[in-house]
Symmetry: C2
Subunit: 147 residues, 2 copies
């Protein structure tokens, strides 16, 4: 239950890593970004058991990543929508996808395309230096341990 005590060292990387590195959470997020909002749709799109889905959705809701919004398809039901905090995970998913395109392409390609709404261009993710603007890889960065 305590997704948090899973790390010795609590930092702004280990905390999200512990949350999103729990089974199903990344896949749930992917599904949410693809537009899925309802319980039944998540359940059939991913192949997750209903009980675990209930629990993961609840976790996301109380982490403030999804929000439970009523909609009426005759009577009151709820759907799950990304909050601002959730939408802000976009770069993470884009980085994952970019990596996947390069290193895990499953032969028959991907199942969806992404394009900039305004100009139709492709989406890219990059890491860069805020000072000199140069593009950065793991080797260009120095880690300084604190504490």
């Amino acid at each position: 239950m305590s997704r948090v005590k899973v790390v010795d060292e609590l930092c702004t990387l280990s905390l999200p890593a512990a949350l999103l590195g729990e089974r199903w959470t990344l896949l749930l997020l992917r599904q949410a970004f693809l537009g899925t909002r309802r319980f039944e749709d998540f359940q059939s799109a991913m192949d997750i058991s209903r009980s675990v889905l209930t629990e993961r959705l609840a976790t996301f809701v109380d982490e403030g990543i999804l929000r439970r919004v009523p909609y009426k398809d005759s009577r009151t039901r709820y759907e799950y929508r990304l909050t601002e905090k959730g939408l802000d995970l976009y770069p993470v998913l884009m980085a994952l996808r970019k990596w996947g395109d390069k290193w895990m392409a499953p032969a028959d390609g991907t199942s969806f395309d992404l394009h900039h709404k305004d100009c139709g261009g492709d989406v890219d993710v990059k890491v860069e230096c805020t000072a000199c603007g140069e593009g950065l890889g793991a080797r260009d960065v120095r880690v300084t341990r604190l504490r």
Copy 2:
């Protein structure tokens, strides 16, 4: 075992999401990027059981994300180092950290700093359009489903 049959739809996002969305994998990766290389060091830094650590390291090795390199501290031992494929996951971790800084700051901040080796500047991640160069968020992108 089959981290792969966990998704209905195999794409370049769901595949990495299934791999990295397994318990411990993201945290293991973080640790690797922080410079940890040896079994014992992983084991004591994270609070993972030895048997699961063995298994996760093996998975990463046969996914080609880590590579097992002999080193001699008197006799032959092995350490785990990021491969090119592994290092290429850097943007994913940076995106996670950026999100963590904004949304999950644990009050006492983070445990390490990152700076561009050459100029000392800060590291940033951004999603942008390859055509017009504009910065993109989730709302600026259109998803087109294929198949």
